[in-house]
Every structure is written in C-alpha cells, then in structure tokens.
C-alpha cells in the first residue's frame, strides 16, 4: 500500500521501504514469533508424547507417533475441574456483565452529583491486591454459609468484577449519542424504559467485549479459586493444574497435556474472537 502510494507520487518521496529493511523487519518478527510460540510448542508437543519415550533431553523433539500421549490421562484427572470452572465462570460472567451494563448506563447517561467520584472509588477496586481482602472475605462467606462452594466463588467474581465491567460499559455508553436518550425522553420513556428499549439493543458489542474479557479473567483466576473453594473436585481448573504440576507421581507428559487442556477454552476464545478481546483489554486500561 505504502509503496504503491510512493510510486504514484514521484514528486516527493516518502519513506520508501527498502527491500533490505523489510527483510530485517520480517526476520525480527519471525524470531519474535519463535520466542512467543516456544512455550506453546513445548506444551503441545510434550503433551502428545507417550511417556515410554519421553525423556528430558528430548524435550524439543517431535513425538515419534501419535497416540494421544498424556491427553487421555490429563482429561481423566482434570475433567471434574473443567466442569467446575465452567459451572462457575458462565453464571459469573453473565451476572457481572449485566451488572456492568446497568452501572455503565447510569454512570454515563444519568450522572448525578458525586457519581464521578463514586465511579473512581469503584474503579480502585480492580487494582487492589486481593490478598488485602482475603481474611474478611472468607469470614464473610463463611458467615453467609457459602464458603467452600462454587456459589461463593461466583459471588466473589461478580463483586470484584463490578469495577472492570462498569468501566467498559461506561466508556461504551458515553460514545452513544445523548440525543438518543433525549429523543426517548420526548417520547415519554423514563430511565428504565430507555435502558431496555434504546440502550440494551445497542449494547450487544459491549456485551461481547465484556463477556469475553470476564470469561478469560475469571477462568484464569487462581487466588480466589484456591482460597474460597477447598474441595479438590470443586476447585477451578487453574488450581487443579497447579496441584498436578506439584505432584511427582504424575508423568510430566500428563502435566503438559493438562496445561493445554486448561488453557483451551480461553485460547479458543482468543483465536476466534481476538478482535473483541483486544478491545476489552484496551478499554480495561481506561484509555477506551
């Protein structure tokens, strides 16, 4: 594209990308790609190896034949936790997205005195190290009677998801023209009707972004998973993977396969919906 433009306007010569320059850039990008894919390669290749021919010195070699390697065993060990993760992540993602949509709508289109200060105070919640709230959190969950259960974990993720989901929805709704809200008002629609009739139908893209972002965040969480749920079969998959990695009795082809399995849902989301993922990530850094 740039080179086309350059040849079309010979009177001035913008940076002509030299052939050599492009080769250098391309080579650097390929080298970086090898670095970024190396751990993925190690996990997949060694997960596929049969333990009978797996040796530490052959880590970088391809498997000799394909018979599933450590995957069947990894699935046996991990599948209760994969289901436990799904059962917890899906409701937590839906609830926190809905909550974020309402908050984002109010904080952008129905500002009131002090709402910006409240918004900022809410935002602080997404930066804190959760270690600083763990002791009272567990006592509270215990007191409510949901300590140790996946329901407790859902509640925790919904509450600590409020800052990020409110932020993304707020940024999204801020960009929706206020004239739409005005027009709805002239037609006699109130705050609630406007939300359901105007804003909600418009907010599908924001729901996709927030949903993907929260799905990834909650799936990848470890600290809440390991502290809020104690029954091993109910713990999220990140906790199970970490336990597996610390067990010497398990063959490491199984550990590698388990690492791949536990990463698969978020990896697939990223591969197929990466566009929305990037938007969530940029919105989450507040420069949305």
């Amino acid at each position: 594209m740039a080179t086309l433009l350059a040849s079309a306007t010979p009177t001035y010569s913008p940076r002509k990308k030299s052939r050599a320059g492009r080769v250098v850039v391309f080579t650097l990008l390929v080298a970086a790609t090898l670095f970024y894919l190396a751990p993925v390669y190690v996990m997949v290749i060694n997960g596929l190896k049969d333990k009978s021919y797996m040796t530490l010195s052959g880590m970088w070699n391809l498997p000799l034949y394909l018979n599933g390697g450590g995957f069947p065993m990894a699935w046996d060990v991990l599948n209760p936790n994969i289901w436990a993760s799904l059962r917890m992540v899906i409701p937590a993602t839906i609830l926190s997205s809905l909550l974020g949509a309402v908050n984002g709508y109010l904080l952008s289109k129905w500002k009131f005195r002090g709402s910006d200060v409240i918004f900022t105070l809410i935002l602080f919640g997404m930066f804190i190290p959760y270690q600083a709230i763990l002791i009272p959190l567990i006592r509270t969950l215990d007191w409510v009677g949901i300590y140790g259960s996946w329901k407790g974990l859902v509640m925790v993720h919904v509450i600590y998801g409020i800052p990020i989901t409110s932020l993304i929805f707020r940024n999204y709704f801020t960009n929706v023209p206020s004239e739409l809200v005005e027009a709805a008002r002239i037609d006699g629609a109130g705050l609630i009707q406007t939300f359901f009739q105007i804003m909600l139908p418009l907010s599908l893209p924001a729901f996709v972004v927030v949903g993907i972002f929260q799905f990834t965040n909650i799936w990848n969480d470890f600290l809440f998973g390991v502290t809020v749920v104690f029954n091993p079969a109910d713990q999220p998959v990140t906790v199970a993977l970490n336990n597996l990695n610390g067990t010497n009795s398990v063959d490491w082809t199984v550990v590698m396969a388990a690492a791949v399995l536990s990463a698969l849902p978020t990896a697939l989301v990223y591969i197929f919906l990466g566009r929305y993922f990037i938007r969530g990530l940029l919105a989450g850094s507040m420069k949305g």
């Binding site: 391309f26 002791i135 005005e182 002239i186 705050l191 502290t227 990695n245 850094s285």
Partner: protein, 347 residues
C-alpha cells in the same frame, strides 16, 4: 449532568412540562438508587474489608482462633514483619523482578509495535501471536516456563545445541549450564560497599543484590504481558497521523530519528499508562511465581504475594499475613491513586 433541551421546553405545554419535571426528579433519585447495590457492595468488599485487614494487621491473631485484641505496642506486627529476613528478601525480589520485567515487557512491547507499524505482510498474524499469551492464565504460563527453565532440559538443551559447551570444553572450562530457577545465587551484592560507608550493613542477613533465579520468572512474565504493552503502543501509533510522519520524512529525518524524536515522545502518555499498569501487576505478582518456582531456593523467588498466602493459609499467622498484604496494597496505591485521581479530573 442531565441535559435539558431548550427546544423541548418551548414545545411542551406547561401541564406536561410539570409532569415531566416530577418524573425527572424521581429519576434523579432512581439513578443513585439503582447504582447503590454495586456501590455498597464495593464499599463493603473493598474498603470495608481493607479496613478489617488493617485491623487484623494490628492484632494478636496468629493462630486458628481469631484474636482481635490490639497488639502492644501499636503497630508491632509491622516492626516484626520488616525485621524478618524473609520479608526483606521478598521486598528485594519485588524490586528486582519489577525492574527486569518492566524493562523487558515495555521495551519488547514497544519494539514489536514499531516493527508491526511498518504494515508488513502478515502483521495481523504476528500481532495475534504476540498477544496470545495474555489470554492464558498465569498458572499455565508458570507451568510451561518451569519446564523450559528446568536446568536438566529446556533452554539448556538449546545452549548445548549451539555448540558453546564443546568450545568451552576444548579450553578446559566447565560447561555453560545455568541453574535458572534453581540457582540460589545473589549477584552484585551491595552489602560490602554499603558497609564501608555504613558499618551496620555488614551485619545484615539480607543479601542486597540480584537473585539470579528471579530473572527467568521476569522473562516468563514479560512473555505473558509484553503483548499487552504492544497492543497499547499499537493503539497509540494508530492515532499518530500520517501527516506527522510525512512532515518528518520531508524534513529528511531517518527512520531512527523519526521514532526517537517524533513518534516515541508522542507516545509518552501511553508509555506512562503501560508503566503504571505493568508496575501494579508486578507488585501483585503471585500465581505465576507460585506455579513456576514457588519460594525458590533460599527464598530466591519468594514475593510478598506468596508470603501472604503462606502466612494466612499455611502458618495461620493472620496478623503477619494481613500486615504484608497491607504493605502490598500501599505499594500498589502509590502507583495507582495518582493515576485514578488524574482520570477523575478528566471526567
């Protein structure tokens, strides 16, 4: 602020305007009312809980049985905490980790963004590859990299494959076979130089230097998060107009000068955001280290996040765990609060 349309006021009859005003004042209350559940939840679960944790950090609670009596003298737990060699090591490790991690993630992210800024064929593919690790959990990253930095395999096999060790053997030098995450060494120790000026430093049990095992952990973290920096920089580069670049190139600036003198300075606000966000991640780091190397040999990779976890859930020394968590929170707040305050002003 709710915007009232002047055109609307003229068209409406006085009666309907009065009705609408009534509804408006009701909806003015409705907005804070609907926001209240979330706001209250955050005030309890964030601010209330932080207050509670702070209270625990001042207390005598160091067993399974809660004991909220205040420990005398006031703040004694913090004194003990900072006096502990392990916690001193954790603070040192956090500083070292943060420096290495920021250096690699920010420069790496910026470098990749600049390479991709050339709109070479396949940019989209490369961008997706570099950001991919961000979609994985810290645990997955930690597991994968713990094998790569296992001295018996992984990177060391690649070092062998280069033939470096054959050359070294020819000169009767031992092979290059780094211990990576198993290496307890702390290099560039400053204890002696400091002791020359300040003699009590000779007595410190903390080795003030660079724990080598922390470097592989920083590499793994940079692997995971440099894509985030790249995405931020790419978003920033996208806002720099073509005219700016063309003007610079008309002035005969080389590519190097264009980036150094024009583009990178224009990216400053982004760089600040990236630094703030990554620093706060670095101060909180827990899962990655926990899965990759744990405490490490001689606490070589121990960090406050692991310390808090072990104090609360293993040792049941709740007051120590709470105090260390508050120290983490203060560190994060120093970085984040000015950022949020600036954000609030721009709202």
């Amino acid at each position: 602020m709710a915007v009232t349309s002047p055109a609307l006021a003229h068209e409406a009859s006085p009666a309907t305007a009065a009705v609408r005003r009534n509804r408006f004042s009701f909806e003015r209350i409705l907005s804070p009312l609907l926001l209240a559940p979330s706001a209250v939840a955050i005030f309890i679960f964030v601010y209330g809980f932080i207050g509670y944790t702070f209270f625990v950090s001042l207390s005598n609670w160091r067993s399974a049985k809660p004991d909220m009596t205040i420990r005398e003298p006031f703040g004694a737990v913090y004194g003990d905490l900072f006096g502990q060699t392990r916690f001193q090591i954790d603070l040192r490790n956090t500083v070292v980790f943060t420096l290495f991690f920021l250096l690699m993630a920010v420069l790496g992210g910026l470098g990749l963004a600049i390479l991709l800024d050339r709109h070479i064929k396949g940019s989209g593919f490369f961008r997706s590859v570099f950001l991919f690790p961000y979609a994985l959990s810290f645990i997955t990253t930690g597991v994968a990299w713990s094998w790569i930095f296992n001295p018996e395999t992984g990177v060391n096999l690649l070092i062998n494959a280069t033939g470096v060790n054959d050359i070294l053997a020819a000169y009767d030098v031992g092979p290059l076979n780094p211990g990576w995450i198993t290496n307890p060494a702390v290099v560039w120790q400053l204890n002696q130089p400091i002791a020359a000026i300040y003699p009590p430093a000779g007595e410190w049990s903390l080795k003030l230097g660079i724990p080598l095992a922390m470097i592989p952990v920083a590499i793994a973290a940079a692997w995971q998060l440099s894509g985030f920096a790249m995405a931020m920089f790419l978003a920033g580069l996208g806002t720099i107009s073509h005219e700016v670049r063309e003007a610079a190139s008309l002035d005969g600036a080389s590519d190097w000068r264009l980036y150094k003198d024009v583009i990178i300075p224009l990216l400053n606000p982004i760089t600040v955001s990236v630094l703030i966000i990554l620093t706060h991640v670095s101060l909180k780091i827990f899962d990655l280290v926990f899965a990759m190397s744990g405490k490490g040999p001689g606490f070589a990779t121990d960090v406050p996040g692991i310390f808090v976890y072990e104090m609360i859930f293993r040792a049941q020394r709740y007051n120590y765990g709470a105090a260390a968590a508050i120290v983490m929170l203060v560190g994060v707040s120093i970085v984040i609060v000015p950022y949020l305050a600036r954000q609030l002003k721009s709202l």
